[in-house]
Symmetry: C2
Subunit: 435 residues, 2 copies
C-alpha cells in the first residue's frame, strides 16, 4: 500500500498516521508523524515544499500559522479538525504507492534522506502542553471489581455510578512520556502498631500498581460557562493515547476520604507518545459492552442515541499488559476498550455541563479498563484481589509491583490485512524509593 516498507505488524500503518513530538541528537523538539519504522520530520518536510500538493487553503493556514514549528501539538490541534484531518489525509496520499503526489517524496530520495528519520534514532516527548488532566472511572468492570474488594459485591458500585461518568481532577505536572522511570513513592500508609491497631507512618509504598486506561486529548476549547452539547462533543476530541495511571494503593486507602485520591496518584502518570487521530479510529467504532445491571436511561445531556455514531460510541481497541521481571517478559492481561460505561463524548458533556471550560491539550483519562473474565484485569489490585492472592508470573509471584519491574502496555485496532492502527507501546520501570 505504501512505497516505503511497512511491516505487517507495525502499529504505524498507512491507516494510522499518528502525530507526536520527537527530537534526535541533532534535531530539537518538533512535530513528527509515525509511519512504519520511520518518523516524518514535519517542519523539515514543510520547509522543503512538502506541502505542495495540499489544498491551498489548508496549506496557507499551516504555513502562516507556524503551528507546525511548535514543540507541542497544541497549535496544530487549535487550527481545527478540517486542518489536521486534511493534513493527515494528505500525508497518507504522499506515502501511498499509487498516490497523487509521487514527486513530493516518493521520487525525491534526497528529501527522504532529510525528513525520514529512523524510529530507533528518535527520543519522544509529551505531545501536548497539558493545561488540566482529568481522570474518569468509566471502566465499569474495574469499578465493580474495586468496589467488591473494598465494600463487597452488594455495594460495589455507588448509587451515582449508573447516572454520570464519575471523575476527578488529576495532576498535569507529573504526566510523563513512555520510558520515563517511575520512582516508588513514599507517603503515609497504615502500618501495624504494637497494640494491635494500625498507625500512619511515612513509608515507601508497599502496594504500587499500574492502571491501563485509554486517554483523549482535547482539540477544541469551550468557553467558561458554555457547556458542550453531547451532539458536538465528538468534535472536541483531537486523538487518543494509552495511559498508565500509576497508583499507590496503600497511600490511596488512607488518604482518599473525603476528597478523593491525591498523593497516591500525583507521583507520575505515563502516556504513550504517538497521538492516534480520531479519524484513524473511525473504522473501529463499536458498541460498548456495558454491565448487565446497568441502566441505559441516562439524562438527556448524556444521551447519545441521536448521535450520528450511535450506538457505536466507543472503539474496538485490543489492549495488552506485559510485565518484565529480571529480563523475562510475560503477558499478564488482555482486554478490550469496549468495556466503557460512558464514551469520551459523554465524558466531555458531563465535564462541561456545569460550565467548566476545557482547553486544547487537556487530557481526559477513561479510568482503568478491565474485562469480565480472569486475565482481563487492568490493574494488579484486581489480579491479586486486593493483594490477598499471589499472581504467578513465570517463575515468580507478585501481589503488587516490585522495584525493577517493567510494565509494558500495548494497544491496537484493526488487522494486518488492512493495516494496523496502533498506539505502539507504553513502558515504565519502577525505580526504588528515594533514600
Amino acid at each position: 500500500m505504501s512505497w516505503i516498507n511497512i511491516s505487517k505488524n507495525s502499529h504505524f500503518s498507512l491507516a494510522n498516521i499518528p502525530f507526536g513530538i520527537f527530537s534526535t541528537t541533532v534535531q530539537s523538539k518538533r512535530i513528527g508523524v509515525a509511519i512504519g519504522d520511520y518518523v516524518l520530520d514535519i517542519p523539515g518536510f514543510v520547509r522543503n515544499e512538502g506541502l505542495t500538493g495540499l489544498d491551498v487553503n489548508t496549506r496557507n493556514l499551516l504555513e502562516t500559522s507556524k503551528a507546525l514549528e511548535q514543540q507541542t501539538l497544541n497549535g496544530l490541534a487549535s487550527l481545527g479538525k478540517p486542518v489536521h484531518s486534511g493534513l493527515r489525509r494528505y500525508i497518507q496520499e504522499v506515502f501511498k504507492s499509487d498516490g497523487r503526489y509521487p514527486d513530493v517524496l516518493q521520487k525525491n530520495s534526497q528529501l527522504q534522506q532529510k525528513v525520514l528519520v529512523p524510529m530507533s534514532d528518535v527520543t519522544m516527548h509529551v505531545p501536548f502542553e497539558i493545561g488540566d488532566y482529568t481522570d474518569f472511572y468509566v471502566g465499569c468492570n474495574h469499578a465493580y471489581n474495586c468496589g467488591c474488594i473494598f465494600r463487597g459485591p452488594q455495594n460495589a458500585l455507588q448509587p451515582n455510578y449508573y447516572h454520570l461518568p464519575v471523575g476527578y481532577h488529576g495532576r498535569a505536572s507529573s504526566v510523563v512520556v513512555s520510558g520515563t522511570g517511575i520512582r516508588r513513592p513514599k507517603g503515609q500508609i497504615l502500618v501495624p502498631a504494637d497494640d494491635g491497631t494500625t498507625q500512619p507512618e511515612l513509608h515507601a509504598s508497599k502496594k504500587m500498581d499500574y492502571e491501563f486506561e485509554i486517554a483523549a486529548f482535547v482539540g477544541k476549547s469551550n468557553n467558561l460557562g458554555e457547556p458542550v452539547p453531547i451532539g458536538q462533543a465528538n468534535d472536541h476530541l483531537f486523538g487518543f493515547v494509552i495511559m498508565n495511571d500509576w497508583s499507590a494503593r496503600d497511600i490511596q486507602a488512607w488518604e482518599y476520604v473525603p476528597l478523593g485520591p491525591f498523593t497516591s496518584k500525583n507521583f507520575g502518570t505515563s502516556i504513550s507518545p504517538w497521538v492516534v487521530h480520531t479519524d484513524a479510529l473511525e473504522p473501529f467504532r463499536c458498541e460498548p459492552i456495558k454491565r448487565k445491571e446497568s441502566d441505559p436511561k441516562v439524562q438527556p445531556y448524556l444521551d447519545e442515541s441521536a448521535s450520528e455514531f450511535s450506538p457505536k460510541t466507543v472503539h474496538d481497541i485490543q489492549m495488552s499488559i506485559d510485565l518484565t521481571i529480571s529480563g523475562e517478559s510475560h503477558r499478564i492481561s488482555q482486554m478490550s476498550a469496549k468495556y466503557m460505561l460512558y464514551s469520551f463524548p459523554q465524558m466531555i458533556a458531563h465535564h462541561t455541563v456545569t460550565g467548566c471550560n476545557l482547553r486544547v491539550g487537556d487530557l481526559l483519562g477513561s479510568g482503568t479498563i478491565s474485562g469480565t473474565e480472569s486475565g482481563t484485569e487492568g490493574s494488579m489490585l484486581e489480579l491479586s484481589q486486593g493483594g490477598k492472592r499471589d499472581v504467578v508470573i513465570g517463575s515468580v509471584t507478585r501481589r503488587f509491583l516490585e522495584d525493577g519491574d517493567t510494565v509494558t502496555f500495548s494497544a491496537v485496532a484493526g488487522d494486518a490485512a488492512t493495516g494496523l492502527v496502533g498506539f505502539g507501546t507504553l513502558e515504565g520501570t519502577v525505580l526504588p524509593a528515594a533514600k
Copy 2:
C-alpha cells in the same frame, strides 16, 4: 511614610507592595505594583530607567531576563526570592518619603505621569499562568462543621484528618479574577420523585455557595521524584491571594463518592488580583489556633518545630465576608486565618512527599477557613447548618446564594498606624443559570 498620598485605610500601604497583572484602555496586559490608589506600571518604569538604584546584579538579571515584560508573574517568580524580594524592597525605597532614590520617581513628575496609573483606570487579570491548582482542607473548624452536618459530631473528622493535610486536585482552567460573574451551574442533583424516593436530574443548582480560602502561589519548582523537605518548603512560596472556591452543594453531595468533588467545583474559582509577597506578611506570623482534640504529633516530614519560624507557622490575617443583596451590603462573617491545622509549608511538604513536582505559578488553596463562634463561618453551608436554617441578612433571608447576590471577601493584616498589608477585595456576582 510615602511621598505619595496613601490613605490610612488603604490595603496597599508602603508595607505591602503586592504584584499583579493589569491593563488599561490604552495599555496591554503587564506587571504592576499596587501602592495606595495607584498602580506602578512596571515595564514602563523599567524602560524609563526606574531600576537605576537597584543593586547591579538584580538589575542586570531583571533587564536581561525580560521577566518584567511578561503578561504573567511566572517569569518574575522564577528568578528566585532574592530577586523579587530585592525588587519589592527597592520599590519601597523609591516610594519612601526619606528614601535613598528621590531622583528616580519622587522628583521626576514627568515619569510619575507616565507610570503611576490611577487604580480606578485599570482592569486586573489572573496574575499567574496556573499549571495546576490544588485545594486543601486545612481549615479545621470548617472541616468539623461540614463533618457534623453530613455525618454527625462523632464522625465529623475522618481518621486521617489529624495526620495529613487532606487535599485534592482542582481545576486550573476555570480560575478567574475578582469581578468575574459566576454563572449558576447546572448539574446532576437529587430531586424528590413521585414514589417518595429521590431521582437524579439535570437542574440548576439550588445550593450554590461560597468558600473563603487563603491561597498561595508557588514561586519555586521542584523536580519530579524530589520531595521538598519541610525545612525548605517556605522558600517555594511566592505570595498569597484570597480565594472564593464556589461550590454547588447539591451537585457535590450526589457526585463526590468515591473520587471527590468534580463538577460541583469546576465551574469557577475566583481569586483576588494582587499577590501579597511572602515578605510583606512576615511581620504578621503567628501560632495557628488548632482544635482542642488535635494531636500535635505529626510525622517528621511535616514537623515544623525545628523551623526558624516555629511556632509561628501561619499568619494573622483578618478576613471578612459581605453579601450584597439588591444593592444593600451586609457583613455576614468575620474570621482569622489562624484557624489552619496545617501551614502552607506543611501543605507543600505533603503535596510533594510522593515526588509530585510543583511548578512556578501553581496555586494552593487552604480550604475554607472558619472560626469557632457564630458569625465566623467561611461558607453559607455552615451559616445555614446545611440549608436547614434561615440566615437573616438585613430584611431578607438566605439558605444558599440566589441569582444577583454579590459575595465580597476582604482580608487584611496589620493596623493603620504602621500601614495595612491587605488583599483588597475579591468580588463575584451569581449570574442566572444558562437557559
